[in-house]
Symmetry: C2
Subunit: 151 residues, 2 copies
Protein backbone atom coordinates (compact mmCIF):
# COMPACT_ATOMS: atom_id res chain seq x y z
CA UNK A 1 0.00 0.00 0.00
CA UNK A 2 2.64 2.50 1.16
CA UNK A 3 5.69 2.54 3.36
CA UNK A 4 5.06 4.62 6.46
CA UNK A 5 7.71 7.19 7.26
CA UNK A 6 8.06 9.48 10.26
CA UNK A 7 7.33 13.13 9.47
CA UNK A 8 8.64 13.98 12.93
CA UNK A 9 8.73 12.85 16.54
CA UNK A 10 6.81 13.59 19.72
CA UNK A 11 8.56 15.29 22.60
CA UNK A 12 6.66 14.27 25.68
CA UNK A 13 7.36 14.07 29.40
CA UNK A 14 6.34 10.38 29.31
CA UNK A 15 9.19 7.92 28.98
CA UNK A 16 7.20 4.92 30.23
CA UNK A 17 3.77 3.76 29.11
CA UNK A 18 2.78 3.05 32.73
CA UNK A 19 2.97 6.80 33.52
CA UNK A 20 0.41 7.81 30.90
CA UNK A 21 -3.06 8.28 32.42
CA UNK A 22 -5.42 5.62 31.06
CA UNK A 23 -9.00 4.57 31.45
CA UNK A 24 -12.09 6.38 32.58
CA UNK A 25 -11.78 10.05 33.28
CA UNK A 26 -8.09 10.06 32.34
CA UNK A 27 -7.07 13.68 31.82
CA UNK A 28 -4.69 14.43 29.00
CA UNK A 29 -3.68 18.03 29.54
CA UNK A 30 0.03 17.45 29.53
CA UNK A 31 2.07 19.67 27.20
CA UNK A 32 4.61 18.48 24.71
CA UNK A 33 5.97 19.20 21.26
CA UNK A 34 5.51 17.85 17.78
CA UNK A 35 8.98 18.15 16.31
CA UNK A 36 8.63 17.98 12.54
CA UNK A 37 11.60 16.94 10.44
CA UNK A 38 13.16 19.94 8.64
CA UNK A 39 12.37 18.47 5.20
CA UNK A 40 8.64 18.57 6.03
CA UNK A 41 8.55 21.95 7.79
CA UNK A 42 7.09 23.72 4.75
CA UNK A 43 4.00 21.53 5.17
CA UNK A 44 3.19 23.43 8.39
CA UNK A 45 2.40 26.67 6.53
CA UNK A 46 -0.78 28.21 8.02
CA UNK A 47 -1.20 25.51 10.63
CA UNK A 48 -0.98 28.19 13.32
CA UNK A 49 -4.54 29.30 12.62
CA UNK A 50 -6.06 26.06 13.91
CA UNK A 51 -6.77 25.62 17.59
CA UNK A 52 -6.82 21.82 17.48
CA UNK A 53 -5.07 19.20 15.40
CA UNK A 54 -5.41 15.51 14.72
CA UNK A 55 -2.10 13.78 15.26
CA UNK A 56 -1.80 10.39 13.60
CA UNK A 57 1.11 8.47 15.05
CA UNK A 58 2.57 5.02 15.32
CA UNK A 59 2.39 2.67 18.30
CA UNK A 60 6.05 1.89 17.62
CA UNK A 61 6.53 0.03 20.90
CA UNK A 62 3.58 -2.28 20.36
CA UNK A 63 4.01 -5.67 18.74
CA UNK A 64 1.25 -7.82 17.31
CA UNK A 65 -2.48 -7.44 17.84
CA UNK A 66 -5.45 -8.95 19.66
CA UNK A 67 -8.86 -8.90 18.01
CA UNK A 68 -10.47 -8.83 21.46
CA UNK A 69 -9.03 -7.47 24.66
CA UNK A 70 -9.84 -6.10 28.06
CA UNK A 71 -9.20 -2.35 28.31
CA UNK A 72 -7.71 -0.94 31.55
CA UNK A 73 -11.08 0.47 32.65
CA UNK A 74 -13.21 -2.65 32.26
CA UNK A 75 -13.17 -6.30 33.24
CA UNK A 76 -14.94 -7.32 30.03
CA UNK A 77 -13.33 -7.82 26.64
CA UNK A 78 -14.25 -5.73 23.61
CA UNK A 79 -13.31 -5.85 19.95
CA UNK A 80 -10.13 -3.97 19.13
CA UNK A 81 -12.00 -1.62 16.77
CA UNK A 82 -14.28 -0.62 19.67
CA UNK A 83 -11.26 0.32 21.82
CA UNK A 84 -8.11 2.42 21.60
CA UNK A 85 -5.81 -0.52 22.35
CA UNK A 86 -2.28 -0.23 20.92
CA UNK A 87 -2.37 -3.88 19.85
CA UNK A 88 -4.12 -3.34 16.50
CA UNK A 89 -3.74 -4.89 13.03
CA UNK A 90 -2.23 -1.56 11.92
CA UNK A 91 -0.52 0.08 14.91
CA UNK A 92 -1.90 3.52 14.08
CA UNK A 93 -2.95 5.92 16.84
CA UNK A 94 -4.98 9.09 16.80
CA UNK A 95 -4.85 11.94 19.32
CA UNK A 96 -6.57 15.33 19.27
CA UNK A 97 -4.28 18.02 20.66
CA UNK A 98 -4.67 21.73 21.27
CA UNK A 99 -2.12 23.80 19.38
CA UNK A 100 -0.51 26.30 21.76
CA UNK A 101 2.09 27.74 19.43
CA UNK A 102 4.59 27.15 16.68
CA UNK A 103 8.30 27.90 16.55
CA UNK A 104 9.75 26.85 13.21
CA UNK A 105 9.43 23.11 12.93
CA UNK A 106 8.17 22.68 16.52
CA UNK A 107 4.53 22.74 17.50
CA UNK A 108 3.81 23.22 21.18
CA UNK A 109 0.65 21.28 22.03
CA UNK A 110 -1.54 20.31 24.97
CA UNK A 111 -3.09 16.88 25.33
CA UNK A 112 -0.11 14.63 24.77
CA UNK A 113 -0.69 10.95 25.56
CA UNK A 114 2.28 9.56 23.64
CA UNK A 115 5.68 8.38 24.77
CA UNK A 116 8.68 10.59 24.15
CA UNK A 117 10.24 9.85 20.77
CA UNK A 118 7.08 8.41 19.20
CA UNK A 119 7.06 8.77 15.40
CA UNK A 120 4.41 11.03 13.90
CA UNK A 121 2.79 9.89 10.66
CA UNK A 122 0.51 12.81 9.87
CA UNK A 123 -1.08 15.98 11.17
CA UNK A 124 -4.47 17.24 10.02
CA UNK A 125 -6.55 20.26 11.00
CA UNK A 126 -9.49 19.55 13.32
CA UNK A 127 -12.38 21.21 11.52
CA UNK A 128 -15.61 20.27 13.24
CA UNK A 129 -17.12 18.24 16.04
CA UNK A 130 -20.06 15.93 16.45
CA UNK A 131 -22.23 17.61 19.11
CA UNK A 132 -21.91 15.76 22.42
CA UNK A 133 -25.67 15.17 22.59
CA UNK A 134 -25.51 13.23 19.30
CA UNK A 135 -22.91 10.80 20.64
CA UNK A 136 -23.48 7.31 21.97
CA UNK A 137 -20.44 5.75 23.60
CA UNK A 138 -21.44 2.09 23.92
CA UNK A 139 -19.58 -0.09 26.40
CA UNK A 140 -17.67 2.89 27.75
CA UNK A 141 -20.87 4.62 28.88
CA UNK A 142 -21.99 1.32 30.45
CA UNK A 143 -18.76 1.05 32.44
CA UNK A 144 -19.15 4.63 33.62
CA UNK A 145 -22.72 3.92 34.70
CA UNK A 146 -21.69 0.73 36.54
CA UNK A 147 -18.89 2.56 38.36
CA UNK A 148 -21.19 5.42 39.30
CA UNK A 149 -23.70 2.89 40.71
CA UNK A 150 -21.13 1.28 42.98
CA UNK A 151 -19.87 4.60 44.38
CA UNK B 1 7.85 1.01 11.19
CA UNK B 2 5.08 -1.40 10.08
CA UNK B 3 3.61 -2.70 6.88
CA UNK B 4 0.09 -1.36 6.38
CA UNK B 5 -2.54 -3.97 5.58
CA UNK B 6 -6.18 -3.55 4.66
CA UNK B 7 -8.56 -4.63 7.42
CA UNK B 8 -11.40 -4.22 4.93
CA UNK B 9 -12.69 -2.11 2.07
CA UNK B 10 -15.13 0.75 1.64
CA UNK B 11 -18.32 0.20 -0.33
CA UNK B 12 -19.30 3.61 -1.57
CA UNK B 13 -21.44 4.98 -4.39
CA UNK B 14 -18.43 7.04 -5.56
CA UNK B 15 -16.38 5.47 -8.33
CA UNK B 16 -14.70 8.71 -9.39
CA UNK B 17 -12.96 11.27 -7.20
CA UNK B 18 -14.56 14.11 -9.18
CA UNK B 19 -18.02 13.08 -7.90
CA UNK B 20 -17.13 13.43 -4.21
CA UNK B 21 -18.31 16.78 -2.81
CA UNK B 22 -15.31 18.89 -1.87
CA UNK B 23 -14.58 22.29 -0.45
CA UNK B 24 -16.58 24.70 1.64
CA UNK B 25 -19.91 23.50 2.86
CA UNK B 26 -19.49 20.09 1.21
CA UNK B 27 -22.06 17.78 2.73
CA UNK B 28 -21.04 14.21 3.38
CA UNK B 29 -24.26 12.44 4.24
CA UNK B 30 -23.93 9.68 1.70
CA UNK B 31 -24.35 6.14 2.98
CA UNK B 32 -21.97 3.29 2.37
CA UNK B 33 -20.50 0.23 4.04
CA UNK B 34 -17.29 -0.68 5.77
CA UNK B 35 -16.76 -4.26 4.72
CA UNK B 36 -14.34 -5.81 7.17
CA UNK B 37 -12.33 -8.87 6.12
CA UNK B 38 -13.67 -12.05 7.79
CA UNK B 39 -10.38 -12.61 9.65
CA UNK B 40 -10.82 -9.28 11.46
CA UNK B 41 -14.57 -9.51 12.13
CA UNK B 42 -14.07 -10.50 15.77
CA UNK B 43 -12.48 -7.07 16.31
CA UNK B 44 -15.92 -5.49 15.76
CA UNK B 45 -17.34 -6.91 19.01
CA UNK B 46 -19.35 -4.17 20.80
CA UNK B 47 -18.77 -1.61 18.10
CA UNK B 48 -22.56 -1.35 17.64
CA UNK B 49 -22.85 0.73 20.82
CA UNK B 50 -21.04 3.70 19.32
CA UNK B 51 -22.90 6.26 17.26
CA UNK B 52 -19.82 7.57 15.47
CA UNK B 53 -16.54 6.05 14.36
CA UNK B 54 -13.20 7.26 13.14
CA UNK B 55 -12.27 5.50 9.93
CA UNK B 56 -8.57 5.62 9.06
CA UNK B 57 -8.04 4.72 5.44
CA UNK B 58 -5.53 4.89 2.67
CA UNK B 59 -5.47 7.34 -0.24
CA UNK B 60 -4.58 4.38 -2.44
CA UNK B 61 -5.12 6.26 -5.69
CA UNK B 62 -2.86 9.15 -4.71
CA UNK B 63 0.78 9.20 -5.68
CA UNK B 64 3.48 11.40 -4.17
CA UNK B 65 2.99 14.50 -2.05
CA UNK B 66 3.18 18.29 -2.13
CA UNK B 67 4.28 20.15 0.98
CA UNK B 68 2.18 23.12 -0.12
CA UNK B 69 -0.88 23.11 -2.28
CA UNK B 70 -4.03 24.97 -3.20
CA UNK B 71 -7.17 23.28 -1.87
CA UNK B 72 -10.32 23.24 -4.06
CA UNK B 73 -12.00 25.95 -1.98
CA UNK B 74 -9.20 28.53 -1.99
CA UNK B 75 -6.90 30.27 -4.46
CA UNK B 76 -4.09 30.42 -1.91
CA UNK B 77 -1.66 27.63 -1.06
CA UNK B 78 -1.44 26.10 2.42
CA UNK B 79 0.84 23.58 4.05
CA UNK B 80 -0.25 19.99 3.53
CA UNK B 81 -0.61 19.48 7.31
CA UNK B 82 -3.09 22.38 7.42
CA UNK B 83 -5.25 20.73 4.74
CA UNK B 84 -6.88 17.39 3.99
CA UNK B 85 -5.11 16.99 0.65
CA UNK B 86 -4.60 13.37 -0.47
CA UNK B 87 -1.04 14.19 -1.59
CA UNK B 88 0.61 13.69 1.82
CA UNK B 89 3.95 12.19 2.95
CA UNK B 90 1.93 9.29 4.38
CA UNK B 91 -1.25 8.85 2.31
CA UNK B 92 -3.42 8.34 5.40
CA UNK B 93 -6.95 9.72 5.54
CA UNK B 94 -9.38 10.20 8.39
CA UNK B 95 -13.17 10.37 8.19
CA UNK B 96 -15.77 10.53 10.95
CA UNK B 97 -18.83 8.47 10.04
CA UNK B 98 -22.12 7.78 11.77
CA UNK B 99 -22.71 4.09 12.41
CA UNK B 100 -26.19 3.14 11.22
CA UNK B 101 -26.01 -0.59 11.83
CA UNK B 102 -23.96 -3.74 11.68
CA UNK B 103 -24.62 -6.99 9.87
CA UNK B 104 -21.81 -9.45 10.54
CA UNK B 105 -18.64 -8.04 9.02
CA UNK B 106 -20.43 -5.11 7.35
CA UNK B 107 -20.97 -1.74 8.99
CA UNK B 108 -23.55 0.51 7.39
CA UNK B 109 -22.41 4.12 7.83
CA UNK B 110 -23.36 7.66 6.88
CA UNK B 111 -20.80 10.25 5.89
CA UNK B 112 -18.79 8.39 3.29
CA UNK B 113 -16.34 10.53 1.32
CA UNK B 114 -14.19 7.72 -0.02
CA UNK B 115 -14.05 5.99 -3.37
CA UNK B 116 -15.54 2.53 -3.70
CA UNK B 117 -12.95 -0.15 -2.94
CA UNK B 118 -10.74 2.07 -0.78
CA UNK B 119 -8.69 0.06 1.76
CA UNK B 120 -9.50 0.63 5.42
CA UNK B 121 -6.55 0.68 7.83
CA UNK B 122 -8.30 1.09 11.17
CA UNK B 123 -11.56 1.89 12.93
CA UNK B 124 -11.73 3.57 16.33
CA UNK B 125 -14.64 4.66 18.49
CA UNK B 126 -15.40 8.38 18.51
CA UNK B 127 -15.51 9.21 22.19
CA UNK B 128 -15.69 12.96 22.66
CA UNK B 129 -15.72 16.25 20.84
CA UNK B 130 -14.03 19.60 21.22
CA UNK B 131 -16.91 22.06 21.74
CA UNK B 132 -17.47 24.10 18.57
CA UNK B 133 -16.99 27.39 20.46
CA UNK B 134 -13.45 26.30 21.40
CA UNK B 135 -12.42 25.73 17.79
CA UNK B 136 -10.44 28.07 15.56
CA UNK B 137 -10.31 27.02 11.94
CA UNK B 138 -7.55 29.23 10.50
CA UNK B 139 -7.40 29.76 6.75
CA UNK B 140 -10.67 27.90 6.27
CA UNK B 141 -12.60 30.40 8.39
CA UNK B 142 -10.89 33.21 6.44
CA UNK B 143 -12.01 31.75 3.12
CA UNK B 144 -15.55 31.42 4.43
CA UNK B 145 -15.50 35.04 5.59
CA UNK B 146 -14.13 36.25 2.23
CA UNK B 147 -16.80 34.31 0.31
CA UNK B 148 -19.54 35.63 2.59
CA UNK B 149 -18.27 39.21 1.99
CA UNK B 150 -18.48 38.88 -1.77
CA UNK B 151 -22.00 37.50 -1.78
Amino acid sequence: MFTPRAIGYIRSPYSEASKIPKGLGAKHDVEGELEILPEFEQGLLDIDGFSHLYVIWCFDRSDGFDLCGRPPCDDRAHGVFATRSPRRPNPIALTVVELLGRRGNRLRVRGVDMLDGTPILDIKPYLSSIPEDHLRRGWLAEVEARKADTK
